[in-house]
Assembly symmetry: C2
Homo-oligomer: 426 residues x 2
Amino acid sequence: MKLSTQPYKGARDFYPEDKRLQKYIFSQWSTVCERYGYEEYDAPILEPLELYAAKSGDEIVNEQTYLFEDRGGRQVVIRPEMTPSVSRMVAARRQELPYPLRWYSMPVNWRYERPQKGRLREFWQLNVDLFGVANQSAEIEMIEIADAIMKQFGAPDGSYEILVNSRQLVDSFLQDELQLTVDTSNAIRRLIDKIDKISNTEFDSQLSQLVGDKPKVQIIDFLQATTLDELPAGIATRPAAQSLQVVLDGLIQTGIKSFRFAPKLMRGFDYYTGVVFEVFDTNPQNRRAMFGGGRYDGLVGIFGVDPVPTIGFGMGDVTLVDFLEANNLLPKLSSSVQVQMLPMGISVLEASKVAKALRKEGVNVAVDFSDNKTDKKIKSAVKRSIRYVVFVGPQELQAGALTVKDLDSGKERSLTMKALASLLQA
Amino acid sequence: MKLSTQPYKGARDFYPEDKRLQKYIFSQWSTVCERYGYEEYDAPILEPLELYAAKSGDEIVNEQTYLFEDRGGRQVVIRPEMTPSVSRMVAARRQELPYPLRWYSMPVNWRYERPQKGRLREFWQLNVDLFGVANQSAEIEMIEIADAIMKQFGAPDGSYEILVNSRQLVDSFLQDELQLTVDTSNAIRRLIDKIDKISNTEFDSQLSQLVGDKPKVQIIDFLQATTLDELPAGIATRPAAQSLQVVLDGLIQTGIKSFRFAPKLMRGFDYYTGVVFEVFDTNPQNRRAMFGGGRYDGLVGIFGVDPVPTIGFGMGDVTLVDFLEANNLLPKLSSSVQVQMLPMGISVLEASKVAKALRKEGVNVAVDFSDNKTDKKIKSAVKRSIRYVVFVGPQELQAGALTVKDLDSGKERSLTMKALASLLQA
């Protein structure tokens, strides 16, 4: 049987041109996170099954994990998301860590799903988390960072919007106002989470099965509010609503434009406890959630230590690249190879010495030692987006200068090594 | 049962201070590779089992892989090494890729082993590969890069040595000179690979079982040579020896000091076909192989395409960090957070505005929104290796200047935002 050259289904090979784009994305992510004082951390891609069983939500654990038994009989999972791992790390050093703790990471995650547009089995995900801040400055900062990242990639206002809701508000409405049980309230939340995937009649009928006619009407009213003032009477004065109002006011004062209150927004994970938010692609051809997060004050505590107030979000690379493509925001990226050197009638060792000297000047040089014709060598440089080729023959060695051809303009000139190095640093 | 906060056995959590070191290592690796014209690529961490069954060597595949069946019934492996993946990628685009192809990668690999000093189950590994060059300039470049990486980390000459051998030379000696069969020759090679792990008597007795007395003496003679001239008569004129001599001469002319011919060096993987090399820690307390590689001209061809001459090496992070520690080469790394801002009697929003303005100047700022006392806030900054704290109160807002405390010197001064930004860029 012939060995396949294809990557595993739903995963990607990154050839240098693909890797360049990935590095660009990672570097934009890092830049914004570090500007806001976040430090990078990492965790192993394998974790014990128990870590996810606790809180991640049933679909991910039961249907989407890469779960197996290792050679020592342990049930392990290739992580489907980073949040349980980072909570574990904080719990392990609960007492020593200096709060507020601002952490980010860019891990690869795996989920066994049907690969489709915007969704692969292997994906990278920026994770940004703030530990130890219970007040709303945390929510405001988190949403500000999400917005700053979109801007860093050049996304214009209007190309996305940030939906904001509060799990606490929803719970308070269902449990305190409508006096529903916790179980019914959770079931309703999960139903609302699916609202865009099922028909109105289907939603209506499932909601009827969960509650009576009067609560149903009130719930539908609740979901249609576009501001906190439009919520059914009695809610606005509850602490959850007032707390959310502080966040929304803060976002205005911080100068965030593209956000709105969205009472339908639930987010899938079970572990959220407060404000949740989601960045949504507003392109009519591509309307969908791109990424989001929220407050999850309970996760660190499941490890048997004092809980830590926490808020965070995760942003995947696959949907982001789709967004950048659709909005013409993909930059032209050139090779890390600045110069391809073509030795012309000199020995390999002589050529290596010139290359070495150029490298000492800080230039990234590849030497084409192949026996190909010059034409073919130049084509090879063009193919990999290298801008300059440098010819080195006996004449150049004698003159102490290089013949440099700019493949963009086609022009050739003679330059010393230092002159070439400063041209490239300009 | 209490959920464990420990990482999976043999794997590591990277807290920000650990991640800093990892990023330093990655950045040194990248810098050298890119100077030599190598471009970064990547591949998925999951691969089909068949990919390794072909060539990686029995121990790794049968005893050390993380092997499991996915939810679709496919036998998959978390990669134990990158070479099969990169060969697959080159084979997939055999015709289109521009040769010579210089590629590097810094993947995470997994092997189910007993964790011990210098060996973990999860490790990162620099992979450097040159495709499409059959002559010895490839060997020289590869060993030069290995040497340049050691120098980039500050390793002095003498703290390591590079052992060089040739599989072809060994095969030629055993098969052409001693007229042994391919199977016996392979068995002898595997035995020699274990030579430092077993006693002399054990080696002697196992060798006796494989060959007669006369060849045994000749083999032991062969293994004791320190230069090609010292090899048993007849070998030095064979092509394999002459080809290796070109490499050794080239290394001298390139200015590489810390290398020597080592006929005992075999390297574990079955796929090597020519020159092999290994960088060895010479510290008496820590004498051992750190990393290595060699020529493996056959791997791309197993995918049913024309073979491509290839040489490469892999360098793990765990042994490297041990080496840097033992040689006092670990640098002092400071936090990516340049400034911790402490709001003093101003609102969160006012503080956020100042932070935002500082970020626009390119400063990495974290704001301490906690209710902790000033002392505790300063301690928290010290703890995470942040050098400057900035106090912002009503006075500072009015004066348009910040009170900046240097935690290294303990000195305080008043600076405008621009002055602080240029101080940090200096």
